[in-house]
């Protein structure tokens, strides 16, 4: 199968591949074995990705329900639907579920698992069984955490700051232990991806011919491997403190709570790049496909992923400007935080450059790309704003910070997640969804998102602290606006859930509806179990090469 044959007829009716499952010689991974066991014990990266998708979406729903509870509670200044204790548990669980159960595994474990080997022309990831193990480890951790949540919950905020977390009477240990276990799953995935990228590239795919999604995953994986153990240890120490009074951060005996914060953010700041780098990777693929252009400045984008991962490790102290940390450290961390912004800016400008002179088709993934671009710049620049040391004195722990990170986590990462979901839906299931509904819900989500979180920036300016169950009345108007926006947002998600489920069953069969020239589209949709039938396809010069071969003149300028 040559590349040209697979992308010959974009959007066309079912290609010959789509019928494989019927005559069964090279069945697609979806139907190759239909027993429950063949799914639960599979080592096929694609099936593992699909199983991850199920669970991750479920946890997104759970986290989203918590979010809506928060928003409802904040509708009025006083108690609205719950008491203070419940509220405190709700935002903690919202944070924990969204971060540890949803956002960190979301793109790498679903789309990374599915696409990485396809993009490298490999039959699987390097350690298929570890890959399966990571799923079960994740579920075990999630089980622990959920059990802890149901049996008392936890009210420390997702940051688990001591000494509060060491003394609260809520069930800290099971949730922390759950998060600790999930950390292993994250490490396993990361190791697997790194080794896969190093050893499993098909002949012809050199480092600088790898799709940018792979670069992004590679950088993400490095962070996962290097940062996760530190929080693992920290979670153990806090559990030990809570259960047995180990005393590592015990103030009465000379311990230092700020040390805890250093260790926490040593992981959690790089972790925000675990959440956003894969999103950047997805968007590099999406923007190439839909503007039918090679990425403008491929190397710059690739290097900047690694650059972000690296300097991301030097910025953790910017969460602690007013925590009693030294002025000197604050200066260093403040300055280093700025560097991350520069690397991100490189990416942003290169994406815009990719659209330049392209041939843009405005589809649902591209709609999300537009939203993403705005949110990333706005969210990222407000990140720079809070990294500006003197300004953070006022903004720290107010709704401004809440708005900043939702802008970048919901605004950037979820937009990318949704774009990936729509972009690769045909790849994963061989079917397509209804474009009209896609655009409607994208519009709803982008609108609802702005309505939810822009008021929160203003709330933060006005001085509303975060994690507030009750608030002074002067903040109510903006809170009502935010809650209204959140309901719009939720509505958008419900529509997506409906039409995608519909498409899963009744969707039109397609092979490569976008005419994409990404490497993953070289094989059939859905791919056969071993990704390729027959000899390995040869890979074109680079992914996303849409130049007319007849007049392959290269203009080396802007």
């Amino acid at each position: 199968m040559t590349p040209s044959s697979s992308i010959a007829a974009p959007g066309a009716a079912p290609g010959h591949e789509a019928h494989h499952d019927e005559h069964g010689d090279h069945p697609s991974y979806l139907v190759d074995g239909t027993t429950v066991k063949s799914w639960l014990l599979t080592v096929d990266h694609k099936r593992i990705g699909i199983m991850y998708m199920f669970w991750v979406l479920l946890f997104f729903l759970v986290g989203g329900i918590f979010a809506l509870m928060i928003r409802l509670e904040l509708l009025t200044p006083g108690p609205t639907i719950m008491d203070a204790m419940t509220y405190n548990r709700t935002f903690t669980l919202h944070g924990v579920v969204m971060i540890f159960l949803f956002m960190i595994p979301a793109i790498p474990a679903i789309f990374g698992n599915f696409m990485l080997p396809l993009m490298l022309g490999a039959k699987d990831v390097a350690f298929p069984r570890l890959n399966l193990l990571s799923l079960y480890v994740y579920l075990a951790g999630a089980g622990f955490a959920l059990w802890g949540m149901l049996n008392g919950g936890l009210d420390t905020g997702w940051t688990f700051y001591t000494p509060y977390s060491a003394h609260t009477t809520t069930t800290v240990a099971p949730v922390l232990f759950g998060a600790f276990i999930i950390g292993f799953s994250s490490i396993l995935t990361g190791m697997n991806f790194i080794v896969t990228a190093h050893t499993m590239r098909a002949p012809g795919i050199t480092w600088f011919k790898m799709p940018l999604f792979v670069w992004a995953l590679y950088a993400t994986s490095c962070i996962q491997v290097l940062a996760t153990p530190v929080i693992g240890l920290l979670l153990l120490l806090v559990s030990a403190e809570n259960l047995f009074n180990l005393g590592m951060f015990d103030v009465a005996r000379g311990g230092d709570p700020v040390l805890f914060q250093h260790l926490f953010w040593f992981y959690s700041h790089p972790a925000v790049y675990i959440m956003v780098l894969p999103a950047f990777g997805v968007m590099s693929e999406v923007v190439s496909t839909f503007s039918r252009k090679n990425i403008f400045g491929y190397r710059a984008v690739a290097y900047s992923s690694v650059g972000i991962a690296f300097v991301g490790f030097f910025a953790w102290g910017h969460h602690m400007f007013v925590s009693g940390q030294s002025t000197f450290d604050a200066g260093i961390f403040g300055a280093l935080s700025m560097l991350v912004g520069v690397f991100t800016a490189i990416k942003v400008f290169n994406w815009v450059g990719t659209v330049y002179k392209g041939a843009v088709e405005f589809t649902t993934p591209f709609a999300y790309f537009c939203g993403f671009l705005f949110f990333t710049v706005f969210g990222g620049m407000t990140g720079i704003a809070v990294a500006t040391v003197s300004l953070d004195v006022a903004w720290h722990d107010t709704y401004f910070v809440v708005a900043h990170f939702h802008f970048i986590m919901v605004g950037a990462t979820i937009m990318a997640f949704l774009a990936a979901l729509h972009y690769w839906f045909p790849k994963m299931f061989g079917k397509t969804y209804h474009e009209g509904w896609g655009l409607v819900s994208a519009a709803l989500i982008i609108l609802g998102f702005n309505a939810t979180f822009i008021p929160q920036f203003l709330l933060g300016n006005a001085g509303m602290p975060r994690r507030y169950y009750e608030y002074p009345e002067r903040f109510q108007a903006l809170n009502v606006a935010s809650t209204a926006g959140a309901s719009l947002l939720a509505f958008g998600f419900v529509i997506i859930a409906l039409y995608l489920t519909w498409a899963l069953i009744y969707g039109k069969r397609v092979d490569n509806p976008w005419g994409s020239k990404g490497y993953e589209w070289l094989t059939a949709s859905p791919p056969p179990t071993h990704n390729f039938v027959g000899p390995q396809p040869t890979y074109p010069e680079e992914p996303h090469f849409y130049v007319d071969p007849k007049k392959a003149e290269v203009s080396d300028a802007v």
């Binding site: 290097l226 009465a252 005996r253 250093h262 490790f313 009693g324 940390q325 450290d329």
Partner: protein
Amino acid sequence: MQEHHGAGRYVAIWLILSVLTVVTVLTGRMHLPSFGLLLALVIASVKGTLVALYFMHLSEHRGANRLVFGVSIFFVVLLISFVLMDFGTRFRLANPPGSQYSDLQAVDIGANKAEGRFGGNTHEKQDHEKHE
């Protein structure tokens, strides 16, 4: 891809490691005033390097493996040094009382003889109110 060495090499490394252990114990016993810990850590690093290079065959492995090891050590150093910088330069009273970087006494954080935390810290509650 990997050469095969005789057992002699491992024996040699083992001997060096043992000797270094004895050396570090001896220098440690001398309680050298300022650079004692430093010396001990240097010796430990030498030992660690030997183990990594020869017992773990890092010297023969591909670049990627060396990079992984190097980067992880680098991040350990990064973590420790930024944290220490913080303690060394922050507002003195924000350090744990009783520590060498704080002007407050340990009793201020509720330590007293009766409760046997630090034992008999003889500094009673005293004139530390006037921080200047």
